[in-house]
Symmetry: C2
Subunit: 115 residues, 2 copies
């Protein structure tokens, strides 16, 4: 019943940021799309649709998720839309992960050891 009284439990904004980016990456199709954009084999939405066994509406939805997470950028190019991976944003994810891995262990709290 005791609420989170004592420590503020470190409401770290980076936790939410990391979770948000990770959530956007948490679907195989979106990883595939991102890799396609990284390879620069495809840019336009229609090209991406052709690469995937999914309907156009579904692909567009995944693109929206990636765009909302800042992982890709869409540029209107005449009748089509060209998508580009936002490499800095993706590198930011690696940065956040590495930061998390690099957390120092408290020497006194070793209640169990990793293998």
């Amino acid at each position: 019943m005791t609420a989170v009284a004592a420590t503020p439990a470190r409401i770290d904004a980076t936790d939410d940021e990391l979770a948000a980016i990770a959530k956007a990456l948490g679907h195989p199709v979106r990883v595939r799309i991102l890799r396609l954009l990284m390879d620069r084999t495809s840019c336009y939405c229609g090209e991406i649709v052709e690469e995937l066994p999914l309907a156009q509406a579904t692909v567009s939805q995944h693109l929206k998720v990636l765009k909302d997470a800042g992982l890709i950028v869409g540029t209107i190019d005449g009748p089509r839309v060209c998508y580009c991976a936002h490499r800095e944003r993706l590198a930011r994810l690696g940065e956040l992960v590495n930061n998390l891995v690099a957390v120092a262990k408290s020497p006194d709290a070793a209640c169990c050891d990793e293998e």
Copy 2:
């Protein structure tokens, strides 16, 4: 370090692996839990529950997701269970992300430029 050379739209197993780990990290509470375990401020399930404004069942569920993704390991210690972060597994995520960022651009497919 050119990873991929003229391989279009490959069904990469690492895509699924990356997506699976990212999905497990795709919730703020789970990132928080992971950070707690990294800091070694808490190890036992009960301690983690006290740090979070969530019911014990909910925390246990999040722990299961992290465990299924291989990000943490649970060890039975008498009546309690001690959880530890699996640093190698988390580092694997950073590795997969860095690998994704490092994909070389195809010089002929520049349909739009990033800033």
